[in-house]
Symmetry: C2
């Protein structure tokens, strides 16, 4: 089972953003949609062994967390607009601190970064981390930030023992990092390394 | 200098597709936009050392080829919609067989797959190819197909000596393949392997 969690620092927390302006009115919702695409799509099929967590920290009602379960999700297409429409539907629901189902395989609750990290461990995607190819026992759960770095407050919630992992000598978009992590896991599962 | 060429078998060849329906009316234009994003974007900057060729083979006026030069392009954002708007502007221009400038760094002409391959060599992204990590002298130009395989006619234009390269034991979206190729080149340039 693989998991990716992506923190959307500006991502809109109501279902009122405009599908024609995902970067602006959605608070870089386009970036989160591409992360979902990288986390859950293979060619012509979905990665049923992967869950994707999205932490929404933008206005007007932060925080919210959406979980997309690869094993359950239906009607997910790879393009940004249709994915954003599913997120918008979930964000329009009234929610408390317990996950509530939106569409099949998509769940939402009104909790944020610290709650997710209290529940489960994640390795951290970090440019200064250990080269993923050199790590013998690769974790299966990864935390990534969007186009902004984790804040000092967010960093305080990350346990000191957290494994920091780097995938590239270059600074990459979060969705590209997810693709590279999947590839390393795929190769090891298939005996390609 | 790196180059990626992506064949869009159904990609609309006029500037009349609907930005609200890139997969349908654009003939999987969403996929081509994600390939551009994978080919040209680093975090907070562009890959100025990369060119991206897109071959449009859909209705109503195939073939057309758009070249996006990373060294010249302006006003390119990573989201699908704004990228598609730039492609639509280029596809709306009357064109012949010589590249014509659309917006800065974006060129279009009314030629297709065979012309591109006559001009320059590409390695071919192929699931049955050699593992990219095992190739000593890695090429810098790569040809990829969209969600459809190359047709038999297209395959006839590919020289028998073409290097076939695989990046994964799984069948991946073309944009994910581009990300993985860039990563291998980045690692070698930085002495990470």
């Amino acid at each position: 089972m693989r998991s990716f969690a992506i923190v959307g620092h500006l991502a809109r927390t109501e279902g009122d953003f405009i599908l024609e302006d995902l970067p602006g009115s959605g608070g870089r919702m386009d970036l989160l949609c591409r992360c979902i695409q990288a986390a859950l799509f293979l060619s012509h099929t979905l990665r049923r062994d992967t869950d994707c967590y999205l932490v929404f920290l933008g206005e007007p009602a932060p925080p919210k967390t959406i979980c997309i379960r690869g094993s359950e999700v239906h009607s997910l297409n790879p393009d940004e607009r249709s994915t954003a429409a599913l997120l918008r539907k979930a964000l329009a629901l009234p929610v408390g601190t317990i996950y509530r189902s939106s569409t099949p395989g998509i769940y939402i609750r009104a909790t944020g970064f610290s709650d997710l990290l209290l529940e489960r461990g994640f390795a951290l995607s970090d440019e200064g981390g250990e080269d993923i190819r050199k790590i013998q026992n690769l974790p299966a759960s990864f935390l990534l930030s969007d186009h902004l770095n984790l804040t000092k407050e967010e960093q305080m919630y990350i346990p000191p023992s957290t494994h920091k992992i780097s995938v590239s000598p270059r600074s990459l978009h979060a969705d590209h990092v997810i693709t590279l992590i999947h590839n390393e896991l795929d190769r090891r599962e298939a005996g390609w390394t």
